[in-house]
């Protein structure tokens, strides 16, 4: 599985050769810098390559969407980030964006339009689902056939934007057994990272939120806890470690599930 095989053009390169890609892959800060999240980024790129999607990334021209600043209450910083990004995106005449981070997804989709950034924004699970429907990508059960998988709804994908089915449909395509946690979909419990909590210690309490959520996930006796957000992934991975279950339960992003199933 050499990374040489990854084909990741940038918007600047595309522009230089007079091309406009169909879709921009917004990698996000976690996807660019966090070691765990980078694996998700690469898994998704593999799928994009496999399906021959005409895409590009902004590369060094990408900057934080401003989401954590906005949730923390720093509207100035958020809008500075947003407007800078919008200038770049509009200069490249971007029409469609796909991202593996629900926080980027939410901000780009809902909060950029009134600042002048109007794009069709998709979460990677939605995007993969359309690739599947268009026949550009095939998903086979492979190594996950019959495995028990539970899906943790990211707040900013689920409750915040009503996307519940796309990730589940992909899991079902793996011929795995999808088991729901006690609290799922609209009632899903947060992993504890949202609202800029990722970047600070939690306030005083009697438990960490990610432990609470991980325990709930483990109650379903899963082989895999599937996630759709790099931050949820970190929180639950930490939870699984704290519960000393990392040898029997894996935490994987939907994109990773699909690549692993096919040994990409």
């Amino acid at each position: 599985m050499g990374n040489e095989t990854l084909y990741v053009p940038t918007m600047a390169e595309m522009m230089a050769s007079g091309k406009t890609p169909d879709v921009l892959f917004w990698v996000g800060c976690a996807g660019s810098f966090d070691d765990r999240a980078k694996k998700i980024t690469k898994a998704f790129v593999k799928l994009l390559n496999k399906a021959n999607v005409d895409f590009a990334v902004l590369g060094t021209e990408e900057s934080c969407t401003g989401d954590p600043a906005k949730r923390a209450g720093n509207e100035f910083l958020f809008q500075m980030q947003a407007m800078t990004n919008i200038e770049v995106l509009n200069a490249y005449e971007v029409k469609k964006i796909v991202t593996t981070c629900p926080h980027c997804f939410n901000t780009l989709k809902n909060e950029y339009p009134s600042l002048g950034g109007n794009y069709k924004v998709m979460h990677h699970t939605q995007f993969l689902k359309t690739l599947l429907e268009e026949g550009k990508l095939k998903i086979e059960g492979g190594s996950f056939k019959g495995k028990k998988i539970t899906f943790h709804d990211p707040c900013y994908l689920g409750r915040a934007n009503g996307v519940y089915e796309a990730p589940r449909e992909l899991i079902k395509k793996l011929e795995a057994e999808l088991i729901e946690m006690k609290r799922c979909k609209q009632n899903g419990l947060c992993c504890g990272a949202g609202g800029a909590q990722m970047f600070k210690e939690a306030e005083k309490g009697d438990k960490e939120i990610n432990i609470e959520r991980t325990e709930e996930a483990l109650e379903t006796k899963p082989d895999i806890i599937a996630a759709g957000c790099p931050f949820c992934n970190t929180m639950i991975t930490d939870g699984v470690k704290a519960k000393e279950k990392e040898s029997s339960v894996k935490v994987l992003d939907i994109a990773e599930l699909i690549t692993n199933a096919q040994d990409l």
């Binding site: 810098f33 100035f76 909060e111 600042l115 934007n161 990272a193 909590q197 990722m198 970047f199 609470e212």
Partner: protein
């Protein structure tokens, strides 16, 4: 002549009750209007639909099936039985008895169903009381539910029990008179069906006509007086939701829950900062010169918008938000219900201050932030929207938390240190961590 006196007393009680209530309604509307403007005039068809489904149809109540079902009983029962109040008012003002009995079969049907509903309401209310006081459901025993909020919850239940009992006792006495063949009876006509009070009236079988009349009249008077007292109790109680649930669901946010507002004044400033043609030394526009610069975020209720204030008055303190809140579940101080209760308490305080000072607010050295809601609560929120999703009347506690965080960060630079670090990183290198923006694509070539 004594009938005339009855009618006059009745009219006085009725108009005093309604009059006092309308004074409080005016105050309520004035207080809500202390909030900032926010436009919720769009998409009226979706708004009517929300109101029909969520307020009238109780769509979100039944997410908790037991409480939801019992609540529908009480709600439907209470509203439908109050049709009876119309008849009581007509009877009271014009000295008639059972003025609607001319409806014949329909009247029997109505009175019969009112009785069954009244019984069901009593049963439901008793179960509610047991859940609160014997089973002690956790969400009714959180710290913010001590004192008045706890009594309020029970008082409402007692009110409903008493009103329904009065209604049934009144009918039982009436039934006993109707079937008692009393020679002196010229007033109590035979009308109505009494599936519940009929059997109860067996208790009255030994009583004479005049005693029965006294029972019937006493219950009748207490019933209507009780309803008027209850009406006026609403303003002081979480029970206001029976009225405000309707406007509240109508005016609720229709955007995706993840979409936070973009503060317009910030947009203008940021645009100016980023505009290469703008003259940084230009004097601010004339028109703005003597206005106070706008405050960012909210430190007091008057910084919130009117929908958020309407939310606060609508909150019925059910605690569904708090019991879904991840922060609260893991022992943090944050409770979205408390955010709403604090907002209402502070708003009431501001309103009273305005009343006491001839219509203007006199600085009282207090505000919503710190005096009611602490920073610790505000920083515990994960912005997960579980509270918003859970609220059966579409209240949005998260929007208040966000406004208050905005105040803390933009006016007081009072974010926790780690968040300040995160923000400095974004400012300097375009990521919440200290990585160089030029390294953003390195993952591509890493093994």
């Amino acid at each position: 002549m004594d009938h005339l006196l009855d009618n006059i007393v009745f009219a006085i009680i009725l108009f005093a009750g309604i009059g006092f209530f309308s004074v409080n309604v005016k105050k309520l509307i004035r207080n809500i209007k202390l909030g900032k403007s926010v436009d919720r005039s769009d998409n009226s068809s979706a708004r009517w639909k929300n109101m029909a489904l969520i307020a009238l149809g109780q769509q979100k109540m039944v997410k908790k099936p037991i409480a939801g079902f019992l609540h529908i009983l009480v709600y439907a029962g209470f509203i439908i039985i109050n049709i009876e109040v119309l008849e009581i008012i007509v009877d009271g003002l014009f000295n008639t008895h059972r003025a609607f009995s001319f409806l014949g079969g329909l009247y029997n049907f109505l009175i019969g169903s009112f009785e069954i509903l009244a019984l069901l309401v009593i049963v439901a209310v008793v179960i509610f009381w047991i859940r609160r006081n014997i089973i002690r459901l956790q969400r009714f025993w959180k710290p913010e539910m001590k004192g008045w909020p706890k009594s309020d919850g029970n008082i409402i239940l007692y009110f409903e029990m008493v009103l329904m009992t009065l209604f049934l006792t009144m009918n039982a006495a009436d039934f006993a008179i109707q079937h008692g063949n009393f020679a002196e009876n010229h007033h109590y006509i035979t009308a109505g069906a009494y599936p519940v009070s009929g059997p109860i009236s067996a208790l009255f079988s030994n009583l004479g006509y005049s005693t029965l009349v006294i029972i019937e009249r006493t219950c009748w008077w207490l019933h209507i007086a009780g309803i008027l007292v209850f009406l006026n109790y609403l303003y002081y109680s979480k029970h206001l939701h029976i009225l405000l649930a309707f406007p509240n669901t109508y005016f609720a946010n229709l955007n995706p829950k993840g979409q936070f507002t973009n503060v317009e004044s910030v947009t203008n400033e940021v645009k100016l900062m980023m505009d290469p043609n703008a003259d940084p030394f230009a004097a601010p526009e004339e028109t703005e010169s003597d206005e106070m610069p706008e405050k960012f975020g909210a430190s007091d209720v008057t910084d919130l918008n009117w929908v958020q204030l309407l939310n606060a008055y609508t909150c019925t303190e059910c605690g569904r938000c708090t019991s879904e809140c991840p922060a609260n579940q893991t022992g943090k101080k944050l409770s979205p219900r408390k955010i709403m209760m604090d907002t209402r308490d502070r708003l009431e305080e501001v309103g009273k201050n305005i009343d006491a000072n001839k219509g203007t607010f006199k600085e009282d050295g207090k505000q919503l932030l710190n005096d009611y809601i602490t920073k610790e609560e505000l920083w515990a929120c994960t912005s997960c929207n579980a509270c918003v999703e859970a609220c059966p009347v579409n209240i949005d506690p998260l929007s208040i938390i966000t406004e208050m965080r905005r105040y803390l960060v933009m006016e007081e630079s009072a974010a926790p240190v780690e968040l300040n670090n995160m923000m400095t990183n974004i400012e300097n290198n375009g990521a919440p961590w200290p990585y160089n923006q030029m390294d953003r694509l390195n993952w591509k070539d890493e093994a």
